[in-house]
Symmetry: C2
Subunit: 430 residues, 2 copies
């Protein structure tokens, strides 16, 4: 194969995809099994040209894609893989370095530490924290809770009823019990209800998945400090907003956390996967994960980033974060975050103004929780029909025992016209 020729074809496919993604149905319009049926059941005996792969990507796979890059992807937490981040992934795959020891990838190891320091400056986090990259918030939380368990021997993870399911999943993996604390009327953890008996850690959330509510981190930090309990803050989605000073109200107390996760692949325009994990107690992470067999011993007296999490192999993820931070700069990031929030405010104002619709939770960032006045079934029907139309993709949750629609803005490709189209589709469907 000619890398230059095939590469040019792949790049052209990528460029055209990004140009036309806004006109593709957002949610894949296929039935389970349909894509697989169109592909051969067995691999080829002889190699094929790369253009065949591109052709089948276009003709067979594309109709089965849900388009996370669409400007009208509003489900879960919307995100965008920006152009600098995409091209950096090409470079990282070309280099294919594996950063399990400093020696195996010095530039990758040092750039990872540096970009996490850069990100800490951008988000206003304490300077002395140690930051590294895991694949997802699930893994970051596993790492943090493993360190907590190692540090204080507790057996319970305490969090609000609105904490993300990855906390339950991590606790199950680690053999820890989960204690759920009730929330107040703003869906925030009630600190006076905290019970820290046998607790290894509290997970406080800034920007919960259902409704982007904000736990009172400062009050939780007080309680953790009194009891010697690890405080892990899950700001996987909303932490990126701290690049703007006006959203730092939600950061109060975070500076006292033992660990913090923010997903750059959620709202910091970096392609999957790039979960940023900071800790003020790096030695506890090392204690939980460091393990040096003979074949990994080296003469350098220097940290290995594989000593801070479950995986040994680590790809060059910091390259894409570095590319995004440089190509956007602080001002570019701020402008994009502010625009997403402005669009969410606008959408919220339309819902509020429209008879028969209601906003269901306070909007803090770029997520709007709303519903049609009426039954849960009616709202579920609206969701299924708008999603099946391909016009937009939204998801749902339950708030105060009611079925609620969620519209999350995060892509920097989303413009006012896109939320207008979304609102029009929702209204006409209802």
């Amino acid at each position: 194969m000619s890398f230059r020729e095939d590469g040019a074809a792949a790049l052209e496919w990528a460029a055209r995809y990004l140009e036309r993604v806004g006109e593709l149905p957002v949610l894949a319009q296929v039935e389970p099994g349909e894509i697989r049926e169109r592909l051969p059941a067995s691999p080829p005996e002889q190699g094929e040209p790369f253009v065949n792969v591109l052709r089948d990507l276009d003709e067979i796979l594309l109709p089965g894609m849900t388009h996370w890059q669409s400007p009208r992807f509003f489900a879960y937490f919307a995100n965008s893989a920006s152009e600098p981040g995409i091209l950096a992934e090409l470079l990282a795959a070309t280099l294919n370095s594996v950063a399990f020891l400093w020696r195996t990838a010095p530039a990758s190891t040092e750039l990872e530490l540096l970009t996490l320091d850069w990100a800490a400056q951008l988000l206003g986090l304490p300077e002395a924290w140690h930051g590294h990259i895991e694949d997802t918030a699930s893994t970051s939380t596993i790492a943090a809770l493993a360190a907590a368990r190692e540090a204080n021997g507790g057996s319970v993870v305490v969090c609000s009823e609105h904490a993300h399911s990855s906390v339950d999943k991590a606790a199950r993996l680690l053999g820890l019990e989960v204690r759920k604390i009730p929330c107040d009327d703003d869906f925030a953890l009630r600190p006076e209800a905290l019970d820290l008996t046998d607790a290894a850690a509290v997970v406080a959330t800034v920007g919960t998945t259902s409704i982007a509510s904000v736990d009172p981190v400062a009050a939780v930090a007080d309680a953790c400090a009194r009891s010697g309990v690890w405080l892990h803050v899950d700001a996987a989605y909303a932490g990126s907003a701290w690049v703007c000073p006006e959203f730092r109200w939600s950061q109060s107390g975070v500076e006292r956390a033992d660990s913090l996760v923010v997903n750059a692949h959620k709202w910091l325009f970096t392609p999957m996967d790039c979960s940023l994990l900071w800790t003020s107690r790096p030695e506890d992470l090392r204690r939980a994960f460091s393990l040096v067999p003979e074949y990994l011993r080296t003469s350098e007296a220097v940290d290995s980033l594989s000593d801070y999490g479950p995986a040994l192999g680590r790809r060059f993820r910091s390259l894409k974060l570095w590319a995004v931070l440089r190509c956007y700069g602080r001002e570019g990031l701020q402008a994009r975050i502010r625009e997403a929030v402005r669009l969410a405010e606008l959408f919220e104002s339309w819902v509020e103004a429209e008879p028969g619709w209601e906003v269901c939770a306070p909007r803090h960032f770029s997520l709007v929780c709303f519903r049609r006045e009426g039954s849960d079934e009616e709202n579920e029907g609206i969701l299924e029909r708008v999603n099946r139309s391909g016009e937009l993709f939204i998801s749902h949750t339950r708030v105060a025992d009611r079925y609620v629609l969620r519209l999350a803005i995060g892509s920097d490709r989303t413009a006012e016209v896109d939320i207008a189209r979304a609102w029009e589709a929702l209204r006409s469907t209802a």
Copy 2:
């Protein structure tokens, strides 16, 4: 930025890198901290053009890279990110889909299941197994051992003294004890020494990290079957060799495993990260990991691949595996595996023929373990000096309490001239 223009520059950088990587020093010739010092301590306020990123990659980062793509990278287990795999990573980052539910990425979910079936056919594995992709063998082993613990309630992981450190790391995470079984003279687990008291799982290794030795999987499978203990097979490196029938002697008994990990990013020419995990007991993996909060509930009666491992977020990793399997085909993969083994045989024959050098362990695949007759310090000195020369990069281990050099061939860029240069450098250094 112009995606096409910047993309063309990135692609050209990648093409030139792959052309010249053989002439760069394999091991980075820098001191700890040196790369970081050359980079600004803070991120930019305003965005910069992407060409600045490329320029600094070239001028600042490149001297700090250890070149895993070099034809003379012989450390750990050598690998190669092939051209089709690299370009597929560009496409995956462009699509940026996240396959935590079928609905969020139908094509990605179905292609992942299909490519794992393809790979199973190529490697001669049982047809009915369920396969999916994790980032690394560390995570695959965590998933397998979590399922084992869930399935039988045991508290001990049993493996040979030569099992990979990721088994210890996974066990520590899961709160399981590790019981190491002594090996025979061929560095294979002695099945008659197996003690399965309270065992959750046995991890048998095909191709250990130190010496690529092969545990007697069939005998271990007998013992596991008798005691209801989960059998996990770690063939992270050597499993790829099964694409050639002549290496399937090492597969005997694997068909009775409960789970198996093979890293496509090691010796199947796929960029990091792509760890293939098969299981004959998918329901046990689901039982260990499935957890469906309200905001992830959908109407489709279809599996979610995030129910088979620790992470919720999952990027489109199958695309690169699909590209490699298609562009190389069975014959292309076989030819590359056979060439790597031929080169290892050749290198081994040179060592054997040379007075003052010895081969230290039976060679089964593409790894040669050898040493200079003399002290451990002398051999360590040779390793440090050849690595510092930049001419090649090898790693070491301890076998039978002696310091041993390891030369692992895995890159399809490695040619006979490269191992000749390596051998010449080793001899002249000694």
